[in-house]
Symmetry: D2
Subunit: 141 residues, 4 copies
C-alpha cells in the first residue's frame, strides 16, 4: 500500500478542486504522507477557537474528515472521487494552544469502502485530544 | 421533560457565550424548541458549500453538534456547562440547494450524560441527508 | 420502498441460512415488517442476562445487528447478500425484565450501502434502553 | 497509568461476578495486561461461527466490549463498577479460522468516562478484521 501522490501534489489538487477549505484563511497543511498514513496540521485562527482559546469540536471534526480524505487520495490517486459516508469521533481532552496534528492511518482500502483511523494531538504532545474513525465510499478502481 | 429556556433565550445566550459560531456570518437560527426536541436551521453561505453547491460534511457535523447542544441547554437551563464527548454521523444523500434543518431529539438526559439523535433534511424534504447521534457530558444538577 | 418479503419468509430464510442464531435457544422473533421498517423481539434466556436480571450489552448489539439485517432483507429480497460494515450503539438505560423489542427504520437503501436506525425498548415501554445505527454493504441490484 | 490488577486477578473476578460470559462455553482468555493496554483471546466455538467458518459480527462486538472492560478494570481496580455507554465498530475483513485477538488501548481514563480503542486481528495476522472504540461510564474515584 504505497502512496501514489505526494503531500505537495495532494495540496495542489485540494487548492484546485476544494478552494473552499481555505475560505476562512489558509489553516491546513499536509505535514507528511507515507505508507498507509498521513499527517495533517491545523494552525487554528479565530474561526476555530472557543472561549479560553481551545479549539472547537467542529474544527476537530473538519480536520479529521479532511485528513482521512488526504490519506485515501494519497493511496488511490487524483482521478478518484471519494465521499465521506460516516464519521465517529470521541473528544478526550481540551486542546491547549498551538498547532493541532491529525495522524491518519488506513485501516482498510477496499474496492468500495475505505476506513481510516485518526489520532488528534497538540504538536509535541503524547495525549490525544480526540480520536476518530471515518468511512469513505471510494469509486471502483 | 419540559424545556426551561425558549428559542430566543438560548440564542441570546449563544450570542453572548459563543459569538464565534457567527464568525463566518450569521447562518444558524433556532426554529423551535419543544418537549425533548429542538429544530435548528442552517442558511449556508460560501463557507459551507462544496463544488456543485452542495453543503459540506463538516458543515453538517457542526450543525448537528450545535443543535444537540441547543436541545440539551433548552432542558437543563443556562447555568449548565455541557461538553460534547462523542458524535457519530452517517451521510446519506447530497443536500440540494436551500436551507438545511436539523431536528434533534433527547434520547436520554441523565445525571452525567445526555444522548441526542439528530435528523438532517432540506427544508420541506422527507428524505434525510444525514443522521447523527451526539453524546454530551452534563454537569451534576 | 415496499417490502418484498414477509416476516415469515424472512424467518424461514434465517432458519435455513443462519441456523447459528438459534444455537443458544430460539430467542428471536420477527414481530412485523412494513414499509421501510421491521420489529424484532428478543425473549432473553440465561445466555443474555447479567446480574440483576438485566439484558447484557452484547445481546442488545446482536439484536440490533440482526434486526437491521431483517429490515434490509425485507426490502431487497432473498437473493441478496448483505454484510454489516459498521455499527454504533448508545446504551441509555438498564432494560427491565420482559421481552425486548427492536424497531428498525431504513434511513437509506442505496446501490452499495444501506443505513438503518434501531430503537430498543422493553415491550410496552416508551423510554429507549438503547439506540443504534448500523451500516450494511449491499450487493448491486 | 500502571495496571493495578493482573490478568489472573481480573479473570477470577469475571468468573465470580459475570459467570454468564462462560455460559456458552469457556471461550475468553486474557493474554496480557500492561500499561494502558490489554489483550483478549477468543477461541470461537459453534456459537460464534457463521457459514464458511467465519466469526460472526456479534461475537466480535462481544469480544471488544469485554476487552474494553478488562483494560479499564485493570487500571481502576476490582471495586469499580464500569458500564458501557457506547460502542462503535467497523468490520474490515472476514476473519479466517483460528483464535481472534483483541488488543485494547486506553485512550482516556477520566473521572467519569473511559474511552478505549480495540484492534481485532487473527493470531499472528497483521491486517485487522475489525476496529472498535468503546466508552464506559466509570464511578468517581
Amino acid at each position: 500500500m504505497q502512496p501514489v501522490m505526494s503531500a505537495r501534489e495532494i495540496m495542489e489538487m485540494l487548492d484546485r478542486e476544494f478552494p473552499q477549505i481555505h475560505a476562512g484563511g489558509r489553516v491546513y497543511a499536509i505535514d507528511s504522507v507515507s505508507t498507509g498514513q498521513a499527517v495533517l496540521r491545523l494552525t487554528a485562527n479565530e474561526l476555530h477557537l472557543r472561549p479560553g482559546g481551545t479549539i472547537s469540536g467542529p474544527s476537530m471534526m473538519a480536520l479529521a474528515d479532511l485528513a482521512a480524505y488526504v490519506v485515501i487520495l494519497a493511496h488511490i490517486g487524483p482521478v478518484a472521487l471519494a465521499v465521506t459516508t460516516s464519521l465517529n469521533i470521541n473528544f478526550l481532552r481540551k486542546p491547549g494552544p498551538g498547532d493541532l496534528l491529525c495522524t491518519c492511518r488506513l485501516l482498510k482500502l477496499g474496492k468500495r469502502l475505505a476506513v481510516v483511523e485518526c489520532s488528534l494531538a497538540g504538536e509535541g504532545k503524547e495525549d490525544l485530544v480526540a480520536h476518530a474513525t471515518a468511512t469513505y465510499s471510494v469509486p471502483p478502481r
